[in-house]
C-alpha cells in the first residue's frame, strides 16, 4: 500500500487552525504520509506539525452558515483538541478522509519511526542502554539464589516475556516450562525486583485453576523455592475477590490456600483496564468543558473516579513496598493477564523502594524493564485514547485500549509532588514520556511484545527515545534543579487531600 492512495488532498490553501492558548494560524495545510503540516508561508513562518499517529479521532462539522466547507475538529491522544476551518466542501471531505485513514493505519512498517532519522549523531544508542542482561545482572549480582535464564529462547515458553528472565537458581528449565503452562499467557512467575534486604517481588499471570480447581506441582515448587523453608510470602491480587472467583469459570482463578500454604493472598483491587479508559475519558471531558460551573466540575472529577484509581494504585504499591521493606516478606503480584495493573504496581513499588528508579536513567531503565520487556502491549493499548471511546465512528470497538501507563505516570507524579527534591527528573520528563508513548518519531513504544518488536527489527530500523533523551543537551533540560539524592524509602501519603490532579 502506498501513502498516495490514502492522501486524497495533499495540499489545501487558506486553512485556519484554532487551538486553545495559541494564536490562530492561517495558511496552507499539507497532508504527508506521517504529518499534518500547517504553514503560514510567511517570513516569520509559524508552522504547525502534527503526527497522524497522535490523532485519536476527528469530528466533521459542516459549515452551517455558508453551505461550503466546514470545520474538522482533531482530537489528539495527548488530550489536545484543535480545529481546522476549511473553505471548500470537497477539500473538507478529502482532508477528513485522509486524516482518518492515516491515523488509523495499522501497518507497523509504515509508521513514522521507520522513516525517521535522527539529525544529530547518536551519542549513546538507547536500544542498547538497558539490555535485559545488564539490567538483570544488577538484580542477581548480590545473591546466589537467582540466575538469568534463557528458557524463553525464541519466545517458545511465553511470547510476551523477553528471552532472558530471572528465576530461582535451583529450578531447572523443565519445571519452568510446566509452570508456564499453568499461568495465563504463559507468564510464569519471574523476578521483578530484589530489595536490599533480600526480599523479592515477583510477577506473573493468573494461575489457570479453572472451575475444577486444577493444581500444578511445578508451579508450586517454583514459587515455594523463592521463599525457602518456613518463610511466608504474600500474593497480591489486583482484582476484587469476586472478579477473581468469577475468573475461575473461564479457566483462570487464584492460588488456593491449600496448595500454597506458605502464601497469604490479599486482594487490592485496581479497576480493569477498560474501566480506566472510561474513567480517564470522563476526567478529560470535564477538563475540556470551558463552560462548566464549580459544582459541575467537582462532581465530574468525582464521578470520573480517576483520582480513586490513582489512590488505589498508590495504596497497592505501598502495601507491596511495606511487605518488602518493613516486614521482610516476599511478594508475588498478579492480576489476570499480568500485563496491566500488575506492571503498574510492581514498577510503582520500585519507585518507592529503590532510589535508583528516581533518577532519569533509572526511571528509563524501569520503564524498559517492567513495561517494555515486561510485555505491556503499548501497540494496542495506546492505539486509541479517550476521545475515541465516546466517538461513534470507532470502527473497531474491541476493548483493548487502556491508559494504564498513564495511570502509572500519574502515580509517579503524585510521589513527585510529595517529594519534590527526591527525583532527579522534573514534571516535563514524565509528560515527554507520556506523549511519546502515544505518538512518536521514536520506535521505543512500538509493538505489543518483545517478540513483536524483534520481528519488526526496531533496533536497526528506528531510533530509540532514550537515545534522544540521554543526549547531554537534552537530558539537561529534564533535570530537577532541586534534586538531592535521597537514599531511603519514600513513604507517600495516600490520604485524599494529598492526591491532586495531574495537569
Amino acid at each position: 500500500m502506498e501513502f498516495i492512495e490514502l492522501i486524497k488532498a495533499p495540499k489545501v490553501d487558506n486553512v485556519i487552525l484554532r487551538r486553545p492558548l495559541f494564536p490562530r494560524i492561517e495558511g496552507t495545510l499539507c497532508v504527508t504520509g506521517h504529518h499534518l503540516i500547517l504553514s503560514s508561508r510567511k517570513e516569520d513562518a509559524q508552522e504547525f506539525w502534527l503526527l497522524h499517529r497522535n490523532v485519536d479521532v476527528i469530528e466533521r462539522r459542516p459549515s452551517q452558515s455558508q453551505f461550503t466547507g466546514g470545520s474538522i475538529v482533531v482530537k489528539c491522544k495527548d488530550f489536545s483538541v484543535l480545529t481546522l476551518d476549511i473553505g471548500a466542501t470537497e477539500d473538507f471531505i478529502n482532508i477528513g478522509d485522509s486524516i482518518e485513514a492515516l491515523a488509523n493505519l495499522d501497518v507497523p512498517g509504515l509508521l513514522y519511526p521507520f522513516f525517521y532519522r535522527s539529525l544529530q549523531p547518536i551519542v549513546e544508542d538507547g536500544w542498547f542502554a538497558f539490555t535485559p542482561e545488564s539490567e538483570f545482572s544488577k538484580l542477581v549480582l548480590k545473591t546466589d539464589d537467582w540466575k538469568i535464564s534463557y528458557v524463553n529462547k525464541d519466545f517458545k515458553v511465553c511470547d510476551s516475556y523477553p528471552e532472558a528472565v530471572v528465576i530461582p537458581k535451583s529450578i531447572p528449565d523443565e519445571i519452568i516450562v510446566a509452570a508456564a503452562g499453568f499461568r495465563q499467557g504463559g507468564r510464569f512467575p519471574v523476578l521483578s525486583y530484589r530489595h536490599e534486604n533480600g526480599s523479592v517481588l515477583l510477577r506473573s499471570g493468573q494461575p489457570l485453576v479453572g472451575p475444577s480447581g486444577k493444581r500444578c506441582k511445578e508451579d508450586e515448587k517454583l514459587i515455594n523455592a523463592v521463599l525457602g523453608p518456613g518463610k511466608r510470602g504474600y500474593i497480591i491480587d489486583t482484582r476484587t475477590q469476586t472478579l477473581a472467583q468469577a475468573a475461575k469459570s473461564r479457566g483462570g482463578g487464584v492460588e488456593p490456600e491449600t496448595s500454597y500454604p506458605q502464601w497469604r493472598r490479599v486482594h487490592k483491587p485496581i479497576d480493569r483496564h477498560h474501566n480506566l479508559l472510561d474513567s480517564l475519558a470522563k476526567l478529560i471531558e470535564g477538563c475540556n468543558d470551558t463552560a462548566s460551573t464549580m459544582d459541575k466540575w467537582l462532581s465530574r472529577i468525582e464521578s470520573s473516579n480517576w483520582l480513586t484509581n490513582v489512590r488505589d494504585t498508590l495504596n497497592c504499591a505501598c502495601l507491596v513496598a511495606q511487605c518488602l521493606d518493613q516486614d521482610n516478606l516476599s511478594v508475588l503480584a498478579h492480576g489476570s493477564d499480568g500485563t496491566d495493573t500488575t506492571l503498574a504496581v510492581t514498577s510503582l513499588s520500585q519507585v518507592i523502594l529503590n532510589p535508583d528508579c528516581r533518577t532519569i536513567r533509572g526511571f528509563e531503565a524501569l520503564i524498559e524493564r517492567e513495561w517494555i520487556q515486561g510485555g505491556y502491549p503499548f501497540g494496542s493499548r495506546h492505539f486509541h485514547s479517550v476521545y475515541a471511546l465516546s466517538a461513534s465512528t470507532l470502527k473497531n470497538p474491541k476493548r483493548k485500549y487502556a491508559p494504564t501507563f498513564v495511570l502509572f505516570l500519574d502515580c509517579v507524579w503524585q510521589l513527585f509532588s510529595q517529594f519534590p527534591c527526591s527525583f532527579e527528573f522534573k514534571e516535563q520528563f514524565l509528560l515527554t514520556i507520556f506523549q511519546h508513548s502515544y505518538a512518536s518519531q521514536y520506535g521505543t513504544f512500538l509493538g505489543d511484545t518483545v517478540c513483536e518488536r524483534e520481528a519488526l527489527c526496531l533496533t536497526e530500523k528506528t531510533v530509540s527515545l532514550w537515545s534522544y533523551i540521554n543526549r547531554p543537551d537534552i537530558i539537561h533540560t529534564f533535570i530537577n534543579p532541586l534534586y538531592e539524592p535521597n537514599p531511603v524509602v519514600i513513604w507517600p501519603s495516600v490520604a485524599p487531600p494529598t492526591i491532586v490532579r495531574f495537569g
Binding site: 464549580m294 519534590p420 501519603s493 492526591i499
Partner: protein
Amino acid sequence: MTFIIPKERDAHDLFTSLTQMCQPASIEELYCFRYNTGSDDLPRGTGWSLFDLQAEFERMGVPNESWTITTLNKDYDICDTYPRYLYVPASAPTSVLLGSSKFRSRGRLPVLSYLHSTKASLCRCSQPLSGFSARCVEDEHLITCIQKANPNTAQLFVVDTRPRINAMANRAAGKGYESEANYENTIFHFAGIDNIHVMRASLARLLETCEFKTPAMGAFLNGVEGSGWLRHIKAILDAALFIGKTLEDGSSVLVHCSDGWDRTAQVCGLAQVLVDPYYRTLHGFQALITKEWLSFGHKFTDRCGHIQVDPKQISPVFTQWLECVWHLCQQFPFVFQFNDRLLLTIHDHVHSCEFGTFVGNCQKDRIDLRVEEKTYSLWGYVANHMNEYLNPLYRPDMNIGFIQPNLAPQVFKFWREMYCRWEIGVHPRESLIDLMVASKDHINSLEDHIRLLQKKIKAVEGRISAESMLNGSGLEITQDSNRFTYKKNAHDEVNLKLRDFDPLMVTDKFTSQLREDESVEAVNETNHLRRLSYRRSSSQDDNLTESLSTEFQSVALDWKSVRGVKECQCSAPLDFTSRKSHCWRCGEIYCSRCLDKWATLPGHISQKQSPVCRNCYRFLHKSFSIESLE
C-alpha cells in the same frame, strides 16, 4: 485535639472553664490586653503607626481636584462604623452627604475606597433604604457626583454583590437596591455572592470533610463539592475580576452588599490586589487590610467570635478573602512579595487575639478600647519577622499592572495548607519553599564571601608580584594569575546564570546546582588564597594569615540540608509550618526562635548583618571584644 482526662468530674470542670475562657464575656478580658512579648525587641508602640489611612490616600493622589477629604465623621456622628476621615467627591455639598447617609443602611454612605490611575474610582457603601419605591434626591445627587468625578466615561457601574433574589427580598424590609431608572447613567450588576450564614455552613461542611478518619476518594470529593466552598470562592473572585476589569477600562464602580462590610470588603480588597501592584507587596498588603477591613468596619470581633456573641454573627468572611488571595498567589507566583506563611499567620492572629490589631468591630471600637496603648500590633510583629514572610520567587520587575487570573473551575485547588494544616501526614514531605529560601540566602552569603576572597586574592597577588619583581621569579606568578582569571570567568558565568532564572519555572531553576557551584568555587578560592598566603607567610608577618583564617571560618560553605530535619537543637519540633532557618556562620538549622541574633561576619565584604545562632553569636562577640580590648 483530644485530651484524655481520667476523672469525669475533672473533665467536666475543664470543659466548662475552657468554654468560658475561649469566649470571654467582655472584650477587655481578651488575651491581647494581658499579652506581653517575652523579649524586649518589640516595643508596644511598633506597628500601630505603620499604616495611616491618610498617607494611603495620599499615595493614590487624593485629595485632588475631584476628590476631597471631609471631617463630617470626625466624632463618628454620621456613621460609627466608618473611619474618621472620609473621602468624597469635591463637588458634593455637605447637605448631600448628610442626606445620603440617612438613606443608606447604618449611615454607610458612598465614599471613596480606591482611586485608580485612570481616574476611575472604586467606592463602597451599604444598601439604599429604597424599599419598593422610596427615592432620595441627595443620594442620587451624590451618585451623580461620583460618576462626574471620572472624566473618562459617562457611566457608573453599581455592583451589588448579593444574589438578585436576596436583594429583592431586602426590598420588603424597606431596603433593597438602586433602580437604574432613578439613578441616571448607572449600570447595575449583581455578583451573586451568598451571605454570611451560607458561608458559615459551607465552611463547617468543608471542615467536616477534612476530619473524616479514613475517607474514600469519592467521599472526600463529594464532601468538597457538597460544601460549595470552592463555588463561593469562585463567585468572589469573579466579582473582583469584573470590578478590576471595569476599573482598568476607566469606568468607576460603586460596590455594596447589605451592610457593606463583608462581601463589599472582600471584593473591593481583591479588586485592588488585581489592579494595583503596590497591594501585592508585603507592605501594601498590610495597608490594604488596614484600609479595607479595619478602617471600613469589618466586624472582626463578631465574625470571629472573639467574645460571647450571637453565634449567627460568626462567619469566615476574612478567611475566605485570604483564600482568594492565596489562589491568586498560586496563579501568579512571581508578583506577590509575601508568601503563604503570611496569610496563615494573619489568619491565626485574627483568631488568637494575641495582638490588638483585629480586636473590636470598627475603628471607633478600637479607639474606645484604647488598643493602641494597651496591646501590641500584629504589623509590628510582622515587620520584625519580615524574612519569614518574603516570597523567594518575587520579582519586582514582573510585578506591574493588572493581573487577570484564570477563573475556570478547573484551576481551583483545595487549600490543604489551611484546612488540613494539622494533619501532618497529608502534606508534601519536602518543602520547596524552605529549600528555595535557604538556597537564596546561601547564594547571597557565598557571593558576598567570594567577593571578599577575590579582593584579597588581588591584594595578595599584587604584593607577591611586587616581591617577585624584586626576586625575578615571575613565571610561577603568571600561572597563578592565569588560574585566577579562569576562575573569575567561571564566576561571571555563575552570575549570568543567576540572572537568567527561568521565569516560567516555579522552582528556581539552577538554584541548587548553583549552590553547589558556588560552594565548590568558594572552596577553590579559599584553597588558592591559602596557598598564596602560606607562601607569603614565610617572608611576611603572620597577621595576614590569621585574619584570613578568621574570615574563612566565619562563613559556612556547606549548609545543612533541610531534608529530614525534625527538630531544632532546642528540641522544638520543626514541621512543615515552621520556618527552618540556617545560621550563616555554622550552617546548622534552627527554629526561628533560636535564630534571633544578628551579626556582621568578617568573611562578608558587604558587612551586612546576617542571622547567626546563639553559639556563633557568643563566639563572634567574644572575638570582637578581644579585638576591641587590644
